[in-house]
């Protein structure tokens, strides 16, 4: 209960043992053969390594630092989620489980898990809030085509956490034959570790790519919803052998800019326990979890993965917000100026990088993490178009 430690496994008794089994299987699973298999899936299937793109035009416009994009949009399925889905699905398979259960908000994790389920011949059940589902017709259609059982969830709690709750409840009923796959870094042990270790390949590739370009990054900037993508990108730069002193910046949603709104537990939260982990939590003085009004459903998390709380505490990374509006604009600029489509979530990291760039010199470098292609958004924009809204 010491204020200093983050993480843990704060779950009801019914989930403790199933998650302990996952932890034990994961520990056993850590061998060479299993790593090789995972790497094979990532290379042969997901499309790793993803490129590090020098955004020449955007950098020129900014008049300062060189901006580089780590391109998770080019993974199979169009988001970084492919990589954590591989790791978890392979672990499940190794545990002899034939059913994957997870939750999604944007649908990206659902698609990623669905793809792995299809390829491995496993049943996949995905919970998603009904309003998220309706906002993501495109990813919903993709999940269905992959054979995923998509279960819409209603209720008072908004966003991914409601779907996570439902997924865990359902999982608890079949925990001896199913595997809970987490999309969120804010999760009970061993999930934060599994996700970070799976996603750390993003940062490792990035380090290698930077050194191949013979440059060091002044800043590494990533969007933080639950923070799994950011942890994957940051992880390698926090390793003992990390060559540079890059500043790591996690960008959260500041909502409409009113500091009492938004979804930035690492900026406006306090330590607490939520979604099974002790971390920074956006809450009121009564300990009630705050709602997270943001236009980016991937960012709508009132708690971040425990690693981020630790890095924040230790000063190893820092965390900022940009408004939803700034994020949307930055994302649009990326498309117009660089021809790259990025997820709404990536817009937060990008917006911050665009602010940072002019304060640096042209021989300095910023890496911005692009978490996904945001292709899903065209589904909703098409719907919007039919209702007469501009695309």
């Amino acid at each position: 209960m010491s204020g200093q430690s983050f993480g843990g496994r704060y779950v009801p008794e019914c989930l403790w043992t199933p998650m302990q089994e996952v932890a034990e299987a994961y520990a056993e699973n850590a061998g060479e053969e299993s790593r090789r298999r995972q790497a094979e899936w990532l290379t042969r299937r997901v499309g790793r390594p993803t490129p590090l793109s020098h955004l020449v035009a955007l950098s020129r416009d900014g008049g300062g630092a060189q901006i580089w994009a780590k391109r998770e949009d080019l993974c199979q399925g169009g988001s970084f989620c492919a990589t954590s889905a591989v790791s978890q699905a392979l672990l499940a398979k190794r545990m002899g489980r034939e059913h994957l259960i997870g939750a999604t908000a944007t649908g990206d994790f659902g698609v990623a898990l669905g793809s792995m389920g299809a390829a491995l011949g496993m049943k996949v059940t995905i919970f998603i809030r009904r309003d998220d589902m309706e906002a993501e017709p495109f990813n919903t259609a993709r999940m269905r085509q992959l054979g995923v059982e998509v279960i819409p969830v209603a209720g008072a709690i908004t966003g991914r956490r409601q779907a996570i709750g439902e997924a865990l409840r359902q999982f608890s009923q079949v925990s001896d034959s199913a595997f809970y796959a987490s999309s969120s870094l804010a999760a009970p042990n061993p999930y934060p570790r599994i996700l970070r270790e799976a996603l750390q390949v993003i940062g490792s590739e990035c380090r290698e790519q930077l050194s191949r370009e013979a440059i060091e990054a002044e800043y590494i900037v990533a969007p933080v919803g639950s923070g799994s993508f950011a942890a994957g990108l940051f992880g390698a730069f926090l390793a003992e052998d990390a060559p540079t002193n890059s500043q790591l910046v996690g960008v959260q949603s500041g909502g409409d800019g009113d500091s009492t709104r938004g979804a930035a537990p690492l900026v406006n939260g306090r330590p607490g326990v939520y979604l099974g982990t002790r971390s920074m939590v956006l809450q009121d003085e009564q300990g009630q979890i705050a709602t997270t009004p943001t236009t980016a459903s991937g960012m709508a998390m009132p708690v971040a993965g425990p690693q981020h709380a630790r890095w924040l505490q230790q000063g190893r990374a820092h965390y900022v917000t940009v408004t939803d509006q700034e994020a949307l604009q930055a994302r649009r600029r990326l498309t117009e100026v660089e021809g790259i489509f990025a997820s709404r979530e990536s817009g937060y990291a990008l917006a911050y990088s665009l602010k940072l760039a002019p304060t640096l010199e042209p021989d300095q470098h910023i890496v911005v993490g692009i978490s996904g292609s945001g292709i899903r958004e065209l589904g909703s924009s098409l719907q919007g178009a039919e209702e007469g809204k501009p695309l």
């Binding site: 496994r9 009801p12 019914c14 043992t17 209720g155 709750g165 009923q173 330590p271 099974g276």
Partner: protein, 267 residues
């Protein structure tokens, strides 16, 4: 050791009358109502009261309890309100143990020591934290013990015997068997009975089963294997129904459970 819970230690199987534990969400639909309902439950024959302090995301309660929780949230009931109704209850009722249930973050936000102090002063007997498993609970348990409050542990179908033996060594008050985790229970009496038998040999304190009990008949079935039952959703459902006679209906429903439970010894 908490004195109101102490009598049940080692009371089974000698004592044959099964325990009846009843739960209310505090502030559903408002604080005084809860206070009145507590009396009704006791009048109906409850042995223990559980008071659920509402949380913004009661993920591991069932759907009915989550709705009750949602209604209660509107009342913005805090720890002070909770202490108040417990203290008030204690003015008239010295025996019936009161267990407070919540999610860990509410405790952390208010400060664990302050909460324990408040609960002890008000006359509560135990604390159950939905999302605090045994492994994370040591410090809290220590602090509770200092004030003679029990940390109530849950047991579930996934709890292994090894793990149970481990937990049971230090457990206090009662065990709450949760046959579900916020979902429907698929009840297989034979299997349930086997699980209870297995666990009972390692525990000196009663196993009270939360199994979505909706009727006296349900309660009777469960109590054949467990030491008692915990009824929550069915009461929340009556509260949800509303109307002027909620207290009366609570009393009647509990009384029926009582009769059925008491009949178990004769079965």
């Amino acid at each position: 050791m908490n004195q109101r819970l102490a009598p049940w230690r080692n009371a089974f199987p000698r004592r044959t009358r099964p325990l009846l534990m009843t739960a209310l969400v505090v502030g559903d639909p408002f604080l005084e109502a809860t206070r009145n309902y507590m009396n009704a439950l006791v009048e109906g024959g409850a042995d223990l009261l559980e008071l659920v302090l509402p949380f913004s995301d009661p993920a591991f309660h069932g759907a009915v309890m989550r709705r009750a929780n949602e209604r209660a949230l509107n009342e913005k009931v805090g720890w002070e309100g909770l202490y108040k109704i417990i203290a008030d209850f204690r003015l008239g009722e010295a025996e019936i143990p009161v267990i407070v249930t919540t999610y860990y973050n509410r405790l952390l936000a208010a400060g664990v020591s302050d909460c324990i102090e408040g609960l002890a002063a008000a006359g509560a007997d135990g604390l159950m934290v939905m999302d605090l498993p045994y492994e994370e609970a040591a410090t809290l348990k220590g602090l509770l013990e200092e004030r003679d409050l029990a940390l109530i542990q849950a047991v579930a179908p996934t709890t292994t015997v090894t793990r149970f033996r481990h937990i049971a060594k230090e457990a206090e008050g009662i065990f709450v068997w949760t046959g579900h985790c916020g979902t429907e229970v698929s009840f297989d009496p034979a299997r349930f009975d086997e699980q209870m038998r297995k666990l009972r040999q390692f525990s000196e304190i009663p196993l009270v089963a939360s199994m979505n009990i909706e009727s006296g008949e349900d309660a009777r079935k469960i109590a054949r294997s467990a030491h008692g039952v915990l009824v929550g959703s069915s009461l929340a459902w009556l509260v949800e129904g509303g109307g002027p006679d909620v207290e009366e209906r609570l009393r009647t429903f509990v009384a029926d459970l009582r009769i059925n439970l008491d009949a178990v010894q004769e079965d």
